[in-house]
Symmetry: C2
DNA sequence: GGCGTTGTTGTGCAAGTGTATAAATAGCCC
DNA sequence: GGGCTATTTATACACTTGCACAACAACGCC
């Protein structure tokens, strides 16, 4: 008989399906690149058939767009989570922030691949460039605020330009070390990048070696 | 009549054709991404027909591989060219090196797009990851040598681990600022990134403000 | 000048692409 | 339990892709 049996399926909630499809998209892009992430590949990974995608997204372009937005959202969310620590000296919080950004899960080859793949198209898609700028500025402002606290605690009164330069530099230090950690993590011993990051950032701010402190 | 006239063509030297095809490939990748760079697009840009590519490269994969190698070659060549300055103090040479790496033509959106697009696939193609590591290490070794000279001139005797950390940090500073300059150059005033870079690098090395000097 | 070599063109093809749409069925309401 | 509806499958289609190959013509050699 071989009745042309159709595949069984379950109806999922809309939000759940969209998330699954976006996750499958990011997985596919990370694995096969932007060009290699086909609707069929994505659908397969999400456990549905390709046609379904059209039911949730007007076209492939839109799916990729939303996937990128989701990626950026998670990245900034994680980065900001590293700022949480409440009761600690500004200097300790800064060190903790740098350290968090230079260890798993932020140091992660898959996320880096995704970031590079998407940002590589920023030249052609101003949308991506703008998304980057916004994320970057958000991150930098957080850094700047933290730097202001640190310097205030040291009784120093930096002018705005100085503050801005510090934030730009610290951001660059974190970004540069992040890239190396993601691309060639095995080249560094565990914690080495974070240690270098903290030391470099403190040097940039002109903080002397940690005094036994104010406890 | 309309004789099915064939297109006129010229026979080019092998090396010339290969270079043209590689350049056309890089242009196509920069413009359309890895997936959008089709053999026909590349051939069009190179001023030949698609079939010819097969005469010079076994397959598309090989062409892309060679194009990436060419890109890396040019990047490291440019970066090292910034080290040329012969008669100058080590500290001045370091500053010149940093400055050169944070201005055109090294700060360039097209080159950045290419770099990001290719490196985004490093997770899947170990060849790319290895090429990056080699380029990175080469660059870092240059930095390390320069740092050694600078510190020697300051009569400081750093141990190897210290030297290594300085090189990693300085490399990260340059990379991080390079990315921002390429992605959002209009966010910074001309020369600002270079100025920040030099200042941050000198802080990292613990160099005091420039003394009137030894002249 | 003719001729052979081979760089170059043009066409063909199977596989895979995104999109459109019809058919089916899972799950909710009564 | 029996329909209703909208999620999901499945198929079709026009198009593009990388690659193969046969025909052609530019150029060096005699």
């Amino acid at each position: 008989m071989n009745a042309p049996s159709r595949r069984k399926f379950r109806r999922e909630g809309e939000e759940r399906r969209r998330q699954d499809l976006i996750d499958a998209t990011l997985d596919s892009v990370a694995e096969h690149g932007l060009g290699g992430a086909t609707l069929r590949t994505i659908a397969l990974r999400a456990g549905v058939t390709a046609g379904l995608i059209r039911h949730y997204f007007p076209g492939k372009e839109d799916l990729l767009q939303e996937a990128y937005a989701a990626l950026m959202g998670r990245m900034t969310e994680q980065a900001k989570a590293a700022l949480a620590m409440e009761d600690a000296s500004p200097r300790q919080r800064l060190a903790a922030f740098v350290t968090a950004n230079l260890n798993a899960p932020i140091i992660d080859q898959r996320v880096f691949s995704l970031w590079a793949t998407f940002i590589g198209r920023a030249g052609a898609y101003p949308t991506l460039a703008r998304a980057h700028s916004e994320g970057y500025l958000g991150f930098r402002n957080e850094v700047e605020a933290l730097v202001a606290e640190v310097l205030a605690a040291e009784r120093r009164k930096p002018d705005p330009a100085e503050l801005r330069h510090h934030a730009i530099a610290i951001n660059a230090i974190i970004d540069g070390l992040w890239i190396e950690g993601c691309l060639a993590g095995e080249m560094f011993s565990p914690g080495e990048l974070a240690a270098i990051g903290v030391k470099t950032v403190e040097a940039e701010l002109g903080l002397g070696p940690e005094t036994g402190g104010n406890q």
